[in-house]
């Protein structure tokens, strides 16, 4: 529980809580970006350099931009006038709080069996080695999945009115 962990944890929770409770959708996405960047810093603090930078590159550089484009194209960038109905809001928060309570109880009451160990090394060479030898099949399947997602997203979101001209 070092000072940097506490700072990053506060930033993460603040960013994500703001992302889920703001009225303007673009503000939500920007707060999400803050939350995800602090999660990436947590990865860096845990010593997973490759994952941390990939998180920034993919989530902040691609997913957040995609989300703001979707917000702009569905004309959601004005603050929403109608409030969310209160009963559904309260029920959702109660369910989420209950889930958190169950998980926290399980975590806190579990016996600490972890011994202090030095920082394990996860160099890019080791990650590449693992990707090419032990995880080569998931890597190839991931390539297929990303190609399918790319083509599918373009086809689904394509404007059909151009074909009718």
């Amino acid at each position: 529980m070092t000072a940097s962990f506490i700072l990053l944890a506060v930033l993460t929770v603040a960013g994500t809580a703001a992302a889920m409770s703001m009225r303007n959708a673009v503000h939500c996405v920007l707060a999400l970006t803050l939350g995800l960047t602090s999660v990436a810093m947590l990865y860096l603090q845990l010593g997973a350099q490759f994952v941390g930078f990939t998180q920034i590159l993919v989530y902040v550089g691609a997913v957040a931009i995609l989300a703001v484009f979707a917000v702009m194209m569905t004309h959601n960038d004005k603050p929403m006038d109608l409030p969310d109905s209160h009963s559904a809001w309260i029920a959702g928060c109660i369910v989420a709080a209950a889930v958190f309570a169950v998980l926290a109880r399980a975590i806190v009451s579990s016996a600490p069996t972890v011994q202090a160990q030095p920082q394990p090394a996860a160099t890019v060479q080791q990650v590449g080695d693992a990707l090419m030898h032990r995880f080569v099949l998931p890597l190839e399947i991931m390539g297929l999945l990303l190609t399918a997602a790319l083509i599918g997203a373009v086809v689904i979101a394509m404007d059909r009115r151009e074909e009718m001209k």
Binding site: V26, I56, A62, F69, M72, D77
Partner: protein, 397 residues
């Protein structure tokens, strides 16, 4: 002569020695923090000065190319013009539109400048002169480069103006499209070097065979990669001929229309700093970083060569800006997706073939053909598709 031979390595490492001497005054617990602050201050001072110099060089260079003098009133040959520009931008009134989103409007230039300065942390400016030697250095550089796009969107959207929004959407579309060839063009170097650490990449290029250096640009795939990287870097920095998002004759100033005074100066600074950082990465990956061009010139300090190569690339940027006309949006996108992306993929295959073939003239012949032939084919393919169609923009209705 021996005295000179003794002084030369000292001159090369003079900044490292000075930093160690300064840090020896701090207690041992504070030394990492002091070292970080010292490096950050040095980078900001050096590159902000280079920015000021570049604004002047650009205006005078463009002026000469357009058959006129550049600024020559303030100081000898206009040397104090950047100072005058700085004073002007600091004293101008900071106007924020009434309907603008104040918090996001304020954060956008700060985020842009921060993202652009972060990239310098992994560039080796001289021998032993890199701020942080990260294991995944090149990945870090591309990750912070992608933060720039978010800052551009924030600037354009928060101004609540049609020109700003249109400019921001165009700029983001352009930056995202050219980020893919940028990363793919640098992958060939990573394949050859076997590491993502910039220090390792430069050390691999710092040796000589005879008098010729082992820079990656002197191989067929390296030259193609360098050219593609520089084209993508020009597009990422929104510079001519890719400056449609900020074209003055098209949409006023694009996403920074509604900014004035110091925030406008920050955008200007951020754009140039980003340009320098990407050029610095190109120098590190392709042009051998801080190593000298010939082995008999290796006695000149390493940081001198880095800045000399950087100034050469800046001169090329200014030259291209003064020469080529602006590309239209659909021409820009076609260039990215239909020419540069297939070219970079072919380049990766070529680099793989180069790695596995035995050295000699056959390797050069095969790889050169594999680089030149697709270039000619794709370029002729681009020239043939000249149909004009109705362009519909759905971003700002």
């Amino acid at each position: 002569m021996t005295l000179l031979a003794l002084w030369i390595p000292q001159l090369d490492q003079i900044f490292v020695i000075a930093a160690h001497w300064l840090l020896s005054y701090l207690p041992a617990a504070l030394q990492p923090l002091g070292s970080a602050i010292l490096s950050v201050a040095a980078i900001i001072v050096a590159f902000a000065t280079l920015f000021a110099l570049t604004t002047l060089l650009e205006r005078k260079g463009l002026g000469r190319m357009q058959n006129r003098y550049g600024p020559n009133r303030v100081g000898p040959c206009g040397l104090f013009q950047p100072l005058a520009d700085g004073v002007k931008s600091l004293t101008k009134e900071d106007i924020v539109p009434i309907r603008a989103d104040r918090a996001v409007h304020f954060m956008a230039p700060i985020l842009l400048v921060t993202a652009c300065f972060l990239g310098y942390a992994v560039l080796p400016i001289g021998r032993n002169m890199v701020m942080v030697d990260m294991n995944a250095g090149v990945l870090f550089f591309f990750a912070v480069g992608s933060l720039m796009e978010l800052a551009v969107f924030m600037a354009g959207w928060s101004s609540r103006s049609k020109y700003s929004l249109l400019g921001a959407m165009r700029a983001i579309a352009q930056m995202i499209s050219y980020e893919v060839p940028l990363v793919l063009a640098s992958i060939v170097v990573l394949m050859q070097a076997g590491s993502l650490s910039t220090v390792t990449i430069v050390n691999m290029q710092a040796s000589y065979s005879g008098i010729w250096p082992h820079w990656f640009v002197f191989t067929p795939w390296g030259l193609a990669g360098f050219v593609l990287f520089m084209i993508a870097a020009t597009a990422e920095a929104n510079r001519s001929p890719f400056d449609l998002p900020e074209g003055e004759s098209e949409i006023i100033a694009g996403y920074y229309t509604e900014y004035s005074g110091f925030k406008f100066a920050l955008f200007f600074l951020g754009e140039y700093i980003g340009m320098f950082a990407t050029s610095g990465l190109a120098i590190t990956l392709f042009l051998g970083g801080w190593s000298a061009p010939f082995s008999f010139l290796a006695w000149v300090p390493s940081y001198f060569w880095f800045f000399a190569k950087l100034l050469t690339l800046i001169a090329v940027f200014i030259w291209v800006r003064g020469t080529l006309p602006r590309l239209r949006m659909d021409q820009l996108m076609n260039l990215a997706w239909q020419f540069m992306l297939p070219m970079t993929i072919f380049n990766v295959i070529t680099a793989g073939i180069w790695h596995f073939m035995p050295g000699g003239p056959l390797r050069w012949l095969v790889c050169s053909t594999m680089v030149v032939a697709p270039c000619i084919l794709f370029a002729s393919g681009l020239k043939r598709k000249k149909k004009f169609q109705v362009r519909t923009y759905h971003f700002s209705q």
